[in-house]
Point group: C2
Chain length 583, copies 2
Amino acid sequence: MIKKTQLKSGHFKNRPTHNRKKITKVKTFDHGKLKIIILGGNEEVGRNMTILEYENDIIIIDMGIQFPEEDMPGIDFIIPNIEYLKGKKKNIRGVVITHGHLDHIGAIPYLISDLGNPVIYSAPLTLGLIKKRHEEFKDAHPLNLQAVTTDDKLTLGCFKVSFFAVSHNIPASMGIIVDTPLGKVVHSGDFKLDFDGSVRDMPEVSKIAGLGTENVLALLSDSTNAPHSGHQISESEIQTNLFNIIRNAHGRVIIGTFASLLNRLQQIFDAAEKLNKKILIDGYSMKTNVEIAHQLGYLSFKKDTFITEKQLKEYPDNRIVICCTGAQGEDRAVLMRIVNREHRFLEIGKNDTVVFSSSVIPGNERSVQRLKDSLYRQGAEVIHYQMMDVHAGGHAKKEDLKLMINLVNPKYFVPIEGNHSFLHIHAKWAAEVGIDPKNIFIADNGQVMEFTKLGGKLTNKRIPADYVFVDGLGVGDVSHIVLRDRKMMSEDGMIVAIATISAKTGALVHSPDIISRGFVYMKENKKLIEKARAKIKQIMKSNNPKTMANDMFIKNKIRNQLGNLLYQETERRPMVLPVIIEV
Amino acid sequence: MIKKTQLKSGHFKNRPTHNRKKITKVKTFDHGKLKIIILGGNEEVGRNMTILEYENDIIIIDMGIQFPEEDMPGIDFIIPNIEYLKGKKKNIRGVVITHGHLDHIGAIPYLISDLGNPVIYSAPLTLGLIKKRHEEFKDAHPLNLQAVTTDDKLTLGCFKVSFFAVSHNIPASMGIIVDTPLGKVVHSGDFKLDFDGSVRDMPEVSKIAGLGTENVLALLSDSTNAPHSGHQISESEIQTNLFNIIRNAHGRVIIGTFASLLNRLQQIFDAAEKLNKKILIDGYSMKTNVEIAHQLGYLSFKKDTFITEKQLKEYPDNRIVICCTGAQGEDRAVLMRIVNREHRFLEIGKNDTVVFSSSVIPGNERSVQRLKDSLYRQGAEVIHYQMMDVHAGGHAKKEDLKLMINLVNPKYFVPIEGNHSFLHIHAKWAAEVGIDPKNIFIADNGQVMEFTKLGGKLTNKRIPADYVFVDGLGVGDVSHIVLRDRKMMSEDGMIVAIATISAKTGALVHSPDIISRGFVYMKENKKLIEKARAKIKQIMKSNNPKTMANDMFIKNKIRNQLGNLLYQETERRPMVLPVIIEV
């Protein structure tokens, strides 16, 4: 639990006064030029980070992580590449965060020190989540946080920054208006336009519509759901369905969702209270998120709605609703621990109804399937979004996206946040509502967009934007070579061939040692191992002792010939690691 | 290309006459008992295989492969476990195959010899595909194949077998009726009920409906799409959409689909012919499948509809339709080779429209996404099933499944073909249409269902049904230990620590050798490697030379202590392989 005092405004330090007079080197060719660069999020879903640069002023919007793809085994996550900003620390006037999801805040602990600890501006909830996460990093430098409301206006160097509320599935999500010397740039953040949702999460439509007459220079807009036709489902429908499920359940209702899907949790709390049911929350991250949001006034519930582990037995099953993490089939999250019977106090009973109230992140389909299978096997009824609308995505679909473009009415349009194909599809919708296709920029990560008084263009200039991998304590130390090796070993295993030779004669001192892992089970493949040993002996014998010093040559010979032998015998290609030890 | 003569009936040998009189050992407790055992396909999608056993007669329905899950790196595929059948070869009266997809025929080359080469019965197309695949296996024993039509009746031991046509997305798909001494058992095969599809693929509804009055003992029915509500889309809708796409395209249309989705290909051929466009087929498996199906009369087209690579230039782009493999993002299939610019003669042009006319197999989502991104990047327009109905699955959905149960009107119902949760959901629909829940058997792979004159039950008896992995030339030689090692190495790599010691004194002869792969990039982590070396030296020094012979003890010490050191320094857990060489 985090203490209330930690979130008081005193902890959010004031914006440092940048001594801008010292800055002298204005490159003339950059005079009067606005650069917009998407550092991450434009070739993937995740690691969102955008920079706006005008002469000596830079602001950053969002700093998120991306979850690894299946060809990146062992990687924890991927963060944006900030090489371009490293020499420009002194120009950074602030970091503005749209909302508190990890793909928008998760990279802060890794990057903020290297950027000179600029002030981070966002809504109190978002800052609360940033702060909580930061505490998990030992020895991390304290953050400079400054809370804003959607009515605040900030002056960050030459930029004037204001905000508008959007609907998403975490409270306090905002779009950002950056008034630059060349006109307004609007960044939508993650958004949907849910006019029928709860009042807690209504978009500030009048502000958005007002932009339509303000000659907006460019709109950068969320493409996550651009490939989906129609409108995003309203949260009010989800609320009704969840209410009915909770009302009709004969036993306990267990709802798995993301720890950060706070709006969904509010719907569940509301339903439970109306139905006089009790809620147990399980999962560390969900608990702390609920506490933070409640303390800051973003979630409302009666104190006695929540029960503890010990109180579970005091209520009949049909008065219990359990909210927990793990709807993605994550190994160590609550739902998986329950079905694996590794949970401290929860197990699945015959009358339980388990609801998966979140979409499945691509790549998790099979883990989620296994989780569902296990739940059925243990007697639960399972309800997921394919069977009933128990989840609405947080992102605008085709028709919502077109409305946003119509309302903001920008001169230039930049689809952001999504795979390359999502951006293309979003661009198509923009053209359909009248944006001149020449003014639609489908930018890659790191590709520089430049605007002057004469107009804007998507240039061919690129700043470094390649992946930076986080693996354990290492940031950026896992290279593509390391990943390639991991992948190779995962497919056919590896074999270490050790030849111990006499330094004097170059002859083998004893029979070569062979160790294999992930290739074949050695005990059951003695013949094959013997053949491998014979092959090494043959190679070593045929080798001219005079060239013995040439380790690389003989190693390559072993690697190739042994590799070929093993392929012929097994049609597998394990990694072969030759080792020559001279004694 | 395969020669016509290879497919003539002369090649399909007659059913061998089993000398049933020799069989004497009828276990009395199995007297009058029918066993139904699903060997594969009831805990997964794939490796479908079912056996029916009555006293000394066994028939097998389907013998398919399953594609590996993501926790099975390097595995080519998984086949059913036939341990139970190995002692019962002489009882096997035949193998009946429902249709020619790999999850129903793919395991034949691996298993059929071990089963004593029983006769395989199916439609000519299915047998053609089985035969084609078998030819890829060198030294494989020739198959005993016997073609049937859906009007044929077979006597296989005590079983009388007949057939009914079903719609699916490969021609000649059949359901199977097995008349046993205890009543009829109906196996649906993979099916949908598409009454509006092409006449080539109409289900034999009257036969199915006729079963309703024949006191069917048990219906085993396809659960693949049981979690989906409503009816499966009709192929006629897909045909209309594909027709419109092909008609309206400004340039070439490139349609990616499965090589075995022959009905889809027929739709494309029909559309192209109506629109006076030309077709190029690329992809070895698709070409051979089309040839086999055409030769056997299952696909119809005009000869001059097809063009070769060389003729491509003779036609304007808007008269060209290319059908190819690779819509799952498979590495070496045509679409991926095109976008990787590794294709011999095709590359993406600005006016190309690429259609993904297949669903995405779970686990392939991200490869397909990358493929789409690359296509957009190269200028193509991409159409996939999320945007427009350009694919209909081959499986019945909820309402179709209920209709099937109503028509067949069985006493017992056994959901088959699907993950455990699919079976549960299918069972729910069966109960909804009036099957007594006590008579619905949700069986695991290998779990024995027994029927006598008194009734049926799902017993707790289980025969071996665990995974048999195929990896390269190895069948069943990759164990869970090998897989666990592959997985471990893929996540954090591995490190080999070699201590060369004197056989006399037990002391290190020289500094320990350290090799790592997939862990850290060694050149950039010299300090860490030095620490690891120092740790090994320390362990070897502290070791009592008298106990030196106890290799295991010292190896474990290195494994644990070096592992801990590396975890402290990196928070990674590479596999540590200690090697001690005595000289």
